[in-house]
């Protein structure tokens, strides 16, 4: 599983961090950092929740 961010859409609003803090974090400037872009299978559900939570549809998962 690979997490892909469309950086031209991401606005750093942090919804993904709330859904999956293991995978996403906003830095001190509110810029998104992906903590782990190839997470283990047990985090799939959280990763999918993060994708759903992004209001800019900036996130996707590649198998």
């Amino acid at each position: 599983m690979k997490i892909v961010v469309n950086w031209s859409l991401c606005e750093g609003n942090g919804n993904c961090e709330a859904a999956a803090p293991e995978l996403f974090q906003l830095d001190d400037d509110d810029q998104l950092e992906v903590l782990n872009d190839s997470p283990p299978e047990e985090l799939r559900e959280k990763a999918e929740a993060a994708v759903r939570s992004c209001p800019k549809s900036a996130l996707s998962i590649e198998e």
Binding site: S8, L9, E11, G12, N13, G14, L26, D28, D29, D30, R52, S53, P55, K56, S57
Partner: protein, 417 residues
């Protein structure tokens, strides 16, 4: 499948009957008419939660653009487009909401900094002080109007902060924004071009002030745009172009957080059992109840886009030049997404949020809005033990833009501050 208007039901978002009470129309649209076609505006209406996400989620290649405004006056969309309409000018830079990509994103990112989560968290104490200041003045009166006198003045002061305008001008800002939202029988809509001119008269001096002060980033909303260089040609933006990017935030920051806050308090007052539950632990419960208030107590109805490409989405074939209406208010009441959707349940499970729209135009102020609503609710409930709304004196607006209460007088019993 292109849904045809069936005999016996017709929906026109601007019709007087709909403005008076859109709820029965939304119920019928939700139940029986996905992708409902309105001939008069050559427009498809989407009310189901998932359909709105699907349509608003088409964010690539300028398929949908706010090129005819996202909240057009009805007269602006009664002509049929023969193919895609032209894009608005990007030199000079047109109002942000109408821009195509990539300029749309470029302008947003140039001023989004003070609206991001940590920047918003950093002004929470200031907002709490504003709220307490208002309560100290209002509570001893025993009776006041929640929407304007309490919430409206708080939000207007936050607008002042965002724009680097002295907070002493908050009342003037509030009056200017409210003046546009006065509805009468002969004025159903928001005259967007007129509104832009009037509000820019307030915004332009703020921009001039920032230029004089050196635009060092302290008022990041404006300074970000002053310091921005347009990617395509490297030029700086004029004051007028900057003002055009900020009108929407000026209005929204002033008038939208008060609506769910005061209608949410009204909702809690009508449900005393739920209010008692919430009061048990304000720290834990305010963020939870805020989400249900933001689902059921907002007033903005919908947003419109124009298709610039043929696209098939949410079961409808849409041709370039046709319009789509995203029925956000209706979608928040979709039984496919929420059980017993019209019922206020303070701690209901909310899996997905549509309050702030979705996709490209998703509310730039969503963090600020949430923080304001939470802070105002929290302080009111903490300091006011007994309150009652005087609904005989309440005023309701009929409008396609905002539908809901615009004046909510409250009578205060026991309080402490």
């Amino acid at each position: 499948m292109n849904a045809q208007s069936p005999i016996g039901f017709s929906y026109d978002p601007y019709a007087r009957d709909v403005l008076k009470n859109p709820l029965p129309y939304y119920r019928e649209l939700l139940e029986n008419h996905p992708g409902y076609y309105v001939e008069k505006y050559d427009m498809f209406v989407f009310t189901r939660f998932q359909d709105i996400i699907d349509v608003a989620g088409v964010t690539d290649d300028n398929t949908f653009v706010g090129s005819e405004s996202t909240l057009p006056m009805p007269a602006a969309i009664t002509h049929k487009n023969d193919g895609p309409p032209p894009f608005v000018s990007t030199n000079p830079m047109s109002a942000g909401i109408m821009l195509p990509s990539p300029e749309y994103e470029e302008m947003r990112l140039a001023h989004i900094k003070p609206l991001r989560p940590k920047a918003v968290a950093a002004i929470q104490d200031m907002v709490r002080d504003l709220v307490l200041g208002r309560l100290r003045e209002l509570l001893p009166r025993g009776r006041f109007e929640v929407m304007g006198e309490f919430c409206g003045l708080v939000s207007a002061a936050v607008t002042c902060h965002l724009f680097g305008i002295p907070k002493s001008e908050a009342q003037g800002v509030l009056d200017a924004v409210n003046a546009l939202a006065v509805y009468s029988d002969d004025k159903v809509g928001v005259d967007t071009p007129g509104m832009y001119d009037q509000l820019k008269a307030h915004i332009r001096p703020a921009i001039e002030r920032r230029r004089k002060a050196g635009a060092d980033g302290e008022v990041a909303l404006i300074d970000g745009l002053i310091n921005h260089r347009v990617k395509s040609d490297g030029r700086a933006l004029t004051d007028d172009e900057i003002a055009d990017q900020l009108v929407c935030s000026f209005v929204a920051a002033t008038e939208t957080p008060p609506k769910p806050t005061s209608q949410g308090l009204w909702m809690l007052w009508q449900n005393p059992d739920q209010l008692a539950e919430v009061r048990k632990d304000l720290d834990a419960n305010i963020p939870i109840v805020t989400e249900e208030i933001l689902r059921l107590c907002i007033t903005n109805q919908f947003a419109i886009r124009t298709a610039h490409k043929d696209v098939s989405v949410a079961g409808v074939d849409i041709k370039a030049g046709q319009r789509v209406l995203l029925g956000i208010y209706a979608g928040l009441r979709d039984p496919r997404e929420f059980d017993d959707p019209e019922k206020f349940i303070w701690n209901r499970k909310i899996n997905r949020v549509l309050t702030f729209g979705y996709g490209q135009h998703h509310c730039i102020g969503n963090n600020l809005a949430r923080m304001q609503v939470r802070t105002m609710l929290r302080a009111f409930l903490e300091h006011v033990e007994e309150f009652e709304f005087d609904m005989d004196k309440a005023v309701h607006a009929a409008s396609y833009f905002h539908w809901g209460w615009i004046k909510l007088p409250v009578v205060v019993g026991k309080y402490s501050i």
